[in-house]
């Protein structure tokens, strides 16, 4: 009896202590997450050429994810669930499926951090390594393996990564894709060198080395199994002036993207900024020569990119300024960008009561020059033939083919407490044959104008409208677009928009692509419903083209975070 009592007391005490410990742990734990569900209901639409037989019963599409992160002191872990059942139109069909493609755990101390599972990492500008995910594009090239970071002294950061990349839902099997390993070191001189902590000169130096291993099972070619890609970078700041540069060199990497040539690859970035109150200048130069770097040499479309090649073009967001977007040509491109921002001061003649902003931007991308090389075993030369050294290319020379030109000027002004607007003019030249794979089509030259105004009826109610025009005598001809958006802060919005291809040389294709949406936002939760039409297109990535059909119907988006 005494023993039973003693045992019961002991169990009770352990229970209480455990419960106290558990609730203490719960109190110190943090859980965060976010969710998004995008659904579509596709309908037949004769006006856009969609028939019921084309939809073929697949009226519904769904993309969804849920992300949860748990933190307890120095330990954190997380997961992401995704489902594409089936994926929305425009997404790569290989993404169809569901599961937990992202699972990770991390432990951090003062000098070290250890991560296992899926993680995202970037070395410098990404020329050797950049893994990231972009939900709207269906892009995720996360590394699945291990990462260690070490900061021996403040300002000197060393990183090591090892693993294999995510490729849609394909599990890793022997020889299915390559193994990636990398190392990066970056030193912030102003932190490491005591004498420089207050210096007007800010200097960072960094270097990275990445290597991928993939077996050679090809019967025709003698392929390198280990391919290394190394880069050195520097950022230098003196007062209002800043300079950033990175150079990368990749050894022979014959792949489907470069047509199995044995040429080395080079990437070079150089950018400079000057900024002071009310005025900023930005200039960038970049050159890529055979810089595609994938962990499976046979893959052509989006997927398994180990590195990232930053663009030198401005990303536009208006309906018509984003109609012809640039996409980087990893086999070779050379270009530059110049931007000036100026804020006309308040109370000046031009600036008015609130001032006026002017932004002028020009960017251009050309092909590199490619000189032929010897074809082994023959006395002929060729450019880009498989099993050769590809080409030679003088470093700073611009090729004659212009892939892209973009000149734009944007003026924004606040007229009164209730009324503000902006005016944009853009001139664009777009090499549609190279950038969209429409081989043989001439360059599309276009002029684009956008007027955007916002009027605040009250502090909570505002109406925004956009009127846009795109004028060209190439491709699909002229377009006009209109957008009206009414917001009742902080919760509601309703909008209608239309893009009308009034100038299409083919009268049957002078179509209105209209949409109407309304949505509700409360704290971190947002719901939006859209009804309308999406344009068709052809997606060409890395030598493989896929037709993306036009679509019409309802779209629902629900997102939340906690």
């Amino acid at each position: 009896m005494k023993r039973v009592l003693l045992l019961a007391t002991a169990i009770l005490f352990i229970g209480i202590a455990a419960r106290a410990q558990f609730s203490e742990t719960i109190k110190r734990s943090e859980v965060h997450g976010s969710f998004e569900f995008d659904g579509a209901y596709y309908m037949a639409d004769e006006g856009v050429g969609i028939t019921d037989s084309m939809i073929n019963g697949q009226n519904f599409a769904f993309n969804g994810f849920g992300k949860i992160t748990y933190t307890l002191g120095k330990f954190s872990a997380g997961l992401r669930y995704e489902a594409y059942l089936p994926p929305l139109a425009g997404f790569d069909p290989r993404i169809e499926g569901q599961g937990f493609p992202n699972l990770w755990a991390m432990y951090t101390t003062e000098k070290f951090s250890f991560t296992v599972g899926n993680f995202y990492e970037q070395f410098g500008n990404g020329l050797t390594l950049r893994t990231y995910e972009e939900w709207m594009l269906g892009y995720d090239n996360s590394l699945n393996g291990a990462r260690v970071t070490f900061e021996p002294v403040k300002g000197l950061l060393l990183k090591g990564v090892y693993g294999m990349q995510r490729f849609y839902w394909t599990p890793y099997t022997k020889n299915s894709r390559g193994i990636v390993k990398g190392f990066d070191a970056e030193m912030d001189f102003n932190q490491v060198i005591k004498g420089m902590s207050d210096s007007k000169v800010r200097l960072t130096l960094g270097g990275s080395f990445v290597s991928k291993y993939q077996a050679d099972l090809d019967p025709l070619y003698n392929l390198p199994r280990n391919v290394g890609n190394m880069a050195g970078r520097m950022t230098l700041g003196i007062g209002k002036f800043n300079l950033s540069t990175e150079y990368a060199y990749k050894i022979n990497d014959p792949s489907a993207i470069n047509n199995f040539i044995y040429k080395a690859g080079e990437g070079f970035l150089l950018s400079a900024t000057y900024s002071t109150k009310g005025f900023g200048l930005y200039a960038m130069f970049k050159r890529y020569d055979n810089m595609s770097y994938k962990s499976n040499r046979a893959v052509t479309a989006n997927g398994l990119d180990i590195n990232f090649l930053p663009p030198n073009t401005e990303t536009h967001s208006y309906m018509l300024t984003s109609m012809y977007p640039y996409n980087t040509q990893p086999n070779g491109e050379i270009g530059f960008q110049l931007q000036m921002n100026y804020k006309v001061p308040k109370k000046s003649k031009l600036g008015g009561k609130y001032g006026m902003g002017i932004a002028i931007n020009y960017s251009q991308v050309n092909d590199i020059v490619r000189d032929p090389v010897n074809v082994p075993g023959t006395d002929t030369t060729a450019v880009g033939l498989p099993g050769t050294d590809g080409w030679t290319s003088p470093f700073f020379k611009f090729g004659s083919r212009i892939f892209w030109q973009d000149f734009n000027i944007e003026i924004d002004k606040k007229f009164s407490k209730k009324f503000k607007g902006s005016l944009t003019y853009m001139y664009q030249s777009y090499d549609i044959a190279t950038l969209e794979g429409h081989t043989g089509m001439p360059i599309v030259y276009s002029n684009i104008g956008v007027v955007e105004m916002t009027y605040k009826f009250t502090s909570k109610q505002a109406l925004r409208w956009e009127v846009q025009g795109l004028w060209t005598d190439r491709d699909k001809g002229d377009w006009a677009a209109l957008l009206l958006e009414y917001t009742v802060s902080p919760h509601w919005f309703v909008s209608v928009s239309d893009q009308y291809n009034y100038g299409n040389p083919d009268e049957v294709n002078r179509i209105n692509y209209y949409t109407g949406s309304f949505g509700y936002t409360r704290r971190t939760t947002r719901i939006a419903i859209t009804y309308g039409r999406q344009r068709e297109g052809i997606v060409c990535v890395g030598g493989v083209c896929r037709a993306v059909p036009a679509s019409s119907g309802f779209y629902v988006t629900i997102s939340s975070s906690f």
Partner: protein
């Protein structure tokens, strides 16, 4: 003291890592090869899904030809014109599509993934994933070619007065379980017509006006052929015979045509064996 050792180890590791993580190949970059089989050798079918409007397809066709040259008779190539880029257009009115080709394209999801793409013995890389990109044709064919042959096939044809009569004989070397069908196809070489192209090394860009289309699928005995036998498992050593008679269309040039016959598992669609023979023997 321990920090010093750590630093030295890190430097040594980094240096050896750099040393071993780069493999610079010296020319020649191509390998010599080829091979001949025994009596019951495993042959492989490469299906190249293509279209005359597909600008990247001529480059892939070159890869197929190089592999055909490398493997000789052991590799059978079939060009299936199907999907978006095979549709006739005003400046390219030729139509190389077939009913069976469109069914296969839809079932295997080839052009939905983009063209050019292909199938190798209709093997599944992962459940439901059959597609092999041109850069992987060589390595995938090589793996299939090294497998032990599970069946033998022979094709005998008689061509008279525009009619082809073929006898396809299949003999299984193992008592395989399942439902087996035989697909009988006719392919045609040397068809001249326009083909879009963006590879200067292959021909004119953007269009090769007189492109030579090879291995073009012209005819099948249905999308999924005919059931070979009710035997399950199949009887080894027994000769399963399929007789086919086809009336030739006007555009099919018999001297340039081949019979391609393959036996496959109807459930998994995996090809067990394939054989190719000229229409005019």
């Amino acid at each position: 003291m321990s920090m010093k050792i750590l630093r030295v180890i890190s430097i040594l590791a980094a240096v050896s890592f750099l040393f071993y993580a780069c493999e610079k190949i010296e020319p020649p970059y191509k390998e010599d090869g080829g091979g001949s089989g025994g009596e019951a050798e495993q042959k492989v079918l490469l299906e190249d899904y293509t279209g005359h409007d597909c600008v990247n397809c001529p480059t892939a066709a070159i890869v197929a030809e190089q592999l055909k040259e490398f493997y000789g008779d052991k590799l059978v190539v079939m060009a299936v014109h199907a999907g978006f880029f095979a549709r006739p257009k005003s400046d390219m009115p030729q139509d190389f599509r077939t009913e069976a080709g469109e069914v296969w394209d839809g079932f295997f999801g080839v052009s939905a993934a983009g063209n050019p793409n292909g199938l190798v013995n209709r093997m599944q890389r992962a459940p439901g994933d059959y597609i092999v990109s041109p850069a992987e044709w060589g390595s995938t064919i090589d793996i299939e070619m090294k497998k032990e042959a599970k069946a033998k096939m022979t094709v005998h044809s008689d061509f008279e007065q525009n009619t082809l009569s073929s006898t396809i004989t299949t003999e299984f070397l193992y008592p395989l379980v399942g439902t087996y069908h035989v697909l009988f196809c006719i392919t045609q070489d040397s068809i001249i017509g326009p083909q879009m192209n963006n590879d200067n090394n292959v021909g004119d860009t953007p269009k090769i006006e007189e492109y030579v289309f090879m291995h073009v699928l012209r005819y099948t005995n249905g999308a999924w052929g005919e059931r070979l036998t009710d035997d399950d498992p199949v009887v080894t050593g027994k000769k399963y015979v399929l007789e086919v008679t086809v009336n030739f269309e006007d555009e099919w040039v018999p001297e340039n045509c081949h019979v391609v016959a393959f036996v496959f598992d109807q459930e998994s669609k995996t090809i067990v064996q394939v054989e190719e023979a000229d229409v005019i023997e």
